[in-house]
Symmetry: C2
Subunit: 223 residues, 2 copies
């Protein structure tokens, strides 16, 4: 697999391709062309072929792409075959929801442990994963050597905990706290889930569509 500088835009389309290919596969579709895939996903065939060509040659002239094979290539690109290990910090509402409902395994991640300060949780298992005392963060991290820390702690503690985690050598953070993490030393890989940013974006487009509707109404009143 080629690994040259691939733009973030391309990377972020990969999970969408994966999802689409899973759907096609489940529907029994065996092969698909960039034209048809583009039609179904709202992308141009050119873009699809360019995207895939960043990583290799997965198609066949005159035929298109084999759905299952292409799915496998994309899964590999996204590291789904690597069995990453993860820990979760902060077993509050969102943390617990992730532990109980999010299928980490499906994406190649195994949750190896969790941390909290709540004495009622410490030592318990949540969905088969042990909750450690947060005060044991450093030694447990150096024992588990996780690839990712899922950060679900309250806002006020998020940055200092993120720095602790990074200092312990965890190479990536999946950040569910609503802040921009800042690091003293070299920053790990960060992937943010910012609920509020998402809702505010929705708020923008709602405002826009309401303003447009109002403008249309005003125009037709004048007529």
């Amino acid at each position: 697999m080629k690994r040259i500088k691939v733009s973030n835009n391309v990377i972020r389309r990969m999970p969408r391709y994966l999802r689409k290919l899973d759907d096609l596969s489940a529907a029994g579709v065996e092969r698909i062309s960039s034209g048809e895939l583009g039609r179904q996903m709202g992308l141009t065939p050119s873009q699809i072929r360019q995207d895939f060509s960043c990583f290799g040659e997965f198609g066949q002239q005159g035929y298109g792409y084999n759905v299952v094979a292409l799915r496998g290539e994309i899964a590999k690109i996204l590291g789904m075959d690597r069995s990453y290990s993860a820990v979760l910090v902060g077993v509050g509402n969102i943390g617990r929801a992730l532990m109980e409902n999010f299928c980490f395994e499906q994406y190649g991640f195994t949750l190896k442990g969790a941390f909290d300060i709540n004495p009622e949780l410490i030592g318990q298992e949540v969905h088969g994963v042990t909750v450690h005392n947060f005060s044991e963060l450093e030694p447990v991290l150096s024992q588990l050597q996780p690839d990712v820390a899922v950060l679900c702690v309250p806002k006020s503690m998020a940055n200092s905990i993120a720095n602790e985690v990074a200092k312990a050598g965890v190479p990536a953070i999946w950040n569910f706290t609503n802040i921009e993490l800042q690091f003293e030393e070299e920053a790990p890989i960060i992937e943010n889930i910012h609920f509020s940013d998402s809702l505010l974006t929705l708020g923008y487009y709602l405002a826009e569509s309401m303003d447009e509707a109002a403008a249309r109404a005003a125009r037709s009143n004048h007529a």
Copy 2:
């Protein structure tokens, strides 16, 4: 406020500006230049000035931007002053987590109701919000006329429910289900929170960084 075609990239930076300005404001900073803001956010001063200029003239030559005033302008751009109404469909783990922990009000949204099929939940209040029987979706929607439906239902039902919601005239959907929603009629405004896409993106960058580290190690072994 100008409202011309503003690119999605610009829109998605707006919530980040808002967050930063809140931080600055809390830290007692009164004014800031595009240069300093850029340094703190990892953006170029040019980009910041371009971004703001899509919506108006919020600064002052030789001075910069007043933090509180700029914050207010951005809040307005994002519709935070409009008091949108919302309903939540699917009071499962993630839905409940949102109802109990996500501060809708802070972003200008009020949760007016929720829906579920679980008889133990129907009629109850969760965090002050009534859970309606899902079978009452249509009449309750037409009564509440919400601006947004927060979609937290299982994957298998997501698309048909999204279509029902759209058909009932709800103009926007905040989608927490891990699928690409498809609409028969005109599509509402959609904003997706795709956990799995985010984690897979992280997986890509982890794979990349591991491959780089391995390549470095191989090179130094040869030396």
